[in-house]
Symmetry: C2
Subunit: 87 residues, 2 copies
């Protein structure tokens, strides 16, 4: 699956969530992760993330697609954390 | 077109970019916008955004799709800025 994930979480959890997320997906902007995961890895990532965030206060949005075939990814300005230095 | 836009820009431009972007797409998280735009509106939005950002320092990423048909949008925790209060 092709995944875009963004989060808006309490400052005190940002480091922990970021460290956790980087085990699964490249970080491409401050609170944005993007990449490919298998169904099982996605499920595992979400189960672990559920334990770290405070569900009544933190917000995580995922857009999950079969692949990036129908996605036109565009960049304006600079790509601050080039994706390819993670693969 | 269905669009997801995230930005990582200089603090001094955040307010201006946010104000500008909200004329085109709902803001769904701090630096995240999402919604539908026609091809012509998308082009117009990008042309205006190009004039506001500093291309050598700011970063704007867009994922543009024909529609959201192939997108499974998932939320973990709370949806901080409910999309529907913008439509």
């Amino acid at each position: 699956m092709y995944i875009i994930l963004v989060y808006d979480i309490g400052e005190e959890r940002v480091h922990k969530v970021c460290k956790y997320m980087r085990r699964y997906l490249p970080r491409i902007q401050n609170s944005v992760f993007e990449g490919e995961l298998s169904d099982s890895k996605l499920a595992k990532m979400k189960a672990g993330l559920e334990k770290i965030i405070v569900s009544g206060r933190d917000s995580v949005l995922l857009w999950v697609m079969r692949d990036d075939h129908f996605v036109d990814r565009q960049i304006m300005g600079v790509e601050k954390l080039p994706v390819d230095n993670f693969f």
